[in-house]
């Protein structure tokens, strides 16, 4: 009986802790309406498992918070909940771009859009809202703090310490080849705006 009571307490503690973590993660964990970029299947499990439903390109689905590797959980318009590949989902605005061209041309279109925007304009909105993150105005007022750099440097870990951390965390180095670099459009140089 005591054990069961203890178990219940533990479960309660886990629930509370889990709830706290969930609440903290809430700004990110919110559901998002996304668009299917190419025809795909809703899978029962992460990976190539049984298909629960078929999705056509440009169908809207709700992306739920869970992700396992490249697989994210979604709810279809018909209420089917299952898993699709992360790269098969996109924002509503991007769906047309994908269906007409594909990743590389979408990238190129975006670069032209970047030329037109001012990188710091959004920071001016910050004053109207209570909580905000480090912004351009913080940098504009920053005075160099070399003493803080020394404090930061005092926290460095050595190579053996890092390897010990990895061992204890069950992390083993893997052999992974570099990914091929994309073919560059020769005429554009986004860095020129700086």
């Amino acid at each position: 009986m005591r054990m069961r009571f203890g178990g219940a307490l533990l479960a309660l503690a886990c629930l509370v802790a889990g709830g706290a973590v969930h609440a903290q993660a809430q700004p990110q964990a919110q559901e998002e309406t996304v668009v299917v970029r190419r025809a795909t299947e809703v899978r029962e499990q992460p990976g190539e498992s049984r298909s629960l439903a078929s999705l056509q390109a440009e169908a809207s689905v709700t992306r739920l918070a869970d992700r396992q590797g490249p697989w994210v959980r979604v709810r279809t318009g018909a209420g089917v909940v299952g898993w699709v590949h992360l790269f098969d989902l996109g924002t509503a605005g991007s769906a047309g771009a994908t269906s007409s061209g594909g990743g590389a041309s979408g990238l190129f279109r975006g670069v032209t859009r970047l030329f037109g925007k001012s990188p710091t304009t959004s920071a001016s909105n910050n004053a109207t809202i209570g909580i905000r993150g480090l912004g351009a105005e913080d940098l504009a007022q920053a005075q160099p703090d070399t003493a803080a750099v020394s404090r930061m440097e005092a926290l460095r870990v050595t190579e053996p310490q890092a390897r010990q951390f990895a061992r204890e965390a069950g992390l083993a180095a893997q052999t992974v080849s570099p990914l091929p670099a994309p073919v560059q459009p020769t005429s554009s140089n986004p860095g020129a705006q700086q």
Binding site: A25, Q28, Q30, E32, R67, G69, L86, F87, G90, S94, T98, G103, A104, L107, G110, V111, R113, L114, P119, T120, S122, A123, N125, I131, R132, G133, L134, G135, A136, D138, L139, A140, Q141, A142, P144, T146, A148, V149, M152, E153, L155, R156, Q161, A162, F165, A166, A169, G170, L171, A173, Q174, V176, S177, P178, L179, A181, P182, Q184, P190, G191
Partner: protein
């Protein structure tokens, strides 16, 4: 050591780098002046061959009593040696730490240093003095500076799991290994007006090792406006590989980008991060093209919460 020999070394340096004088006549002038001004027996190349092999590092930049003339260093074309790269990074780090303080949780700081260093060991520059810190800031952002300084906001750490944090750190680590900030600073230095460069030289001489006004202005500008967008795509593409090499799910970074995709650009917690990077959907498109299913063999990893790891580091 005669002045003539020093001037000759500087001349050789210029002759060996034809683009140097074309792109940057002022830098060329500075390097001659600096070389001529060096005192006998003080940091002058004793071996003429040394000047030939390393023209940029030896005669071109005078090491002044209190520090390095960064504007002259950045304005020239030759390679910047690692010690100077680290010193530039230190000055940029001082500006970032002047805008937000370090987070006070020692266990969290230790964990991020262990994690970051472990990922950095998988790169081409494992032996840099890698230094990681969590900034006490509710925003969602991360920064890097040359020489191995990496910053991450506490607001980001609270919103991701370990594989996602590994993906972000690996992206920042790539900016360091590829010297992206150094290149951006050089572009800015070369674009600077003549008067600004001369002003910087005077100030640097006067204040010694303090961060010069010019470096301060460039650091503020660099972190407000961001890097070359192509450098961001490169850091994503290489970062997922470094994360996978370190034993993490390589989809941590795409997972974060998927979350960023849904954020309004003027959300004050995300504004700087979103304005200084390509749109998240474009970054995902680029990663989708690069990754395909090449890294899918490395995805079977349990999800680890950061508070679990930090609790262990606290023991």
């Amino acid at each position: 050591m005669s002045l003539r020999r020093l001037a000759l070394a500087a001349g050789l340096a210029l002759a060996l780098t034809p683009a140097f004088a074309q792109n940057n006549p002022l830098g060329a002038l500075n390097s001659i002046l600096n070389a001529v001004q060096q005192q006998p027996g003080k940091a002058a190349p004793s071996n003429p061959l040394g000047a030939l092999l390393a023209p940029a590092q030896q005669p071109a930049v005078a090491t002044q009593p209190g520090g390095i003339d960064f504007m002259a260093l950045l304005s020239q074309d030759g390679p910047i040696d690692e010690a100077k790269e680290i010193e530039i990074g230190r000055q940029l780090a001082a500006v970032l730490l002047g805008s937000k303080p370090m987070h006070g949780d020692a266990a969290l700081q230790r964990y991020v240093n262990q994690l970051g260093r472990w990922i950095a060991l998988q790169t081409s520059r494992p032996l840099l003095p890698w230094t990681f810190t969590v900034l006490d800031d509710p925003g969602f952002n991360a920064f890097a500076a040359p020489g191995g300084y990496v910053f991450i906001t506490s607001g980001l750490v609270e919103r991701v799991d370990e594989a996602e944090l590994a993906g972000i750190l690996a992206h920042e680590i790539t900016h360091v290994t590829e010297r992206h900030h150094l290149q951006a600073l050089r572009t800015k230095a070369r674009a600077g007006a003549v008067t600004q460069l001369i002003g910087s030289q005077i100030r640097t001489s006067a204040v010694g090792s303090l961060v010069s006004q010019q470096v301060l202005a460039m650091a503020r500008n660099l972190y407000s406006s961001g890097l070359d967008q192509q450098d961001e795509f490169d850091a994503d593409r290489q970062g997922v590989v470094f994360a996978a090499r370190a034993g993490f799910d390589p989809y941590g970074l795409p997972g974060v980008l998927q979350q960023l995709r849904g954020q309004a650009p003027d959300d004050p917690l995300f504004a700087l991060s979103l304005s200084t990077h390509p749109p998240a959907q474009q970054r995902l498109d680029a990663l989708a093209s690069a990754m395909g299913n090449r890294l899918d063999a490395f995805t079977a990893r349990p999800v680890v919460r950061i508070d679990q790891r930090v609790a262990r580091a606290r023991r």
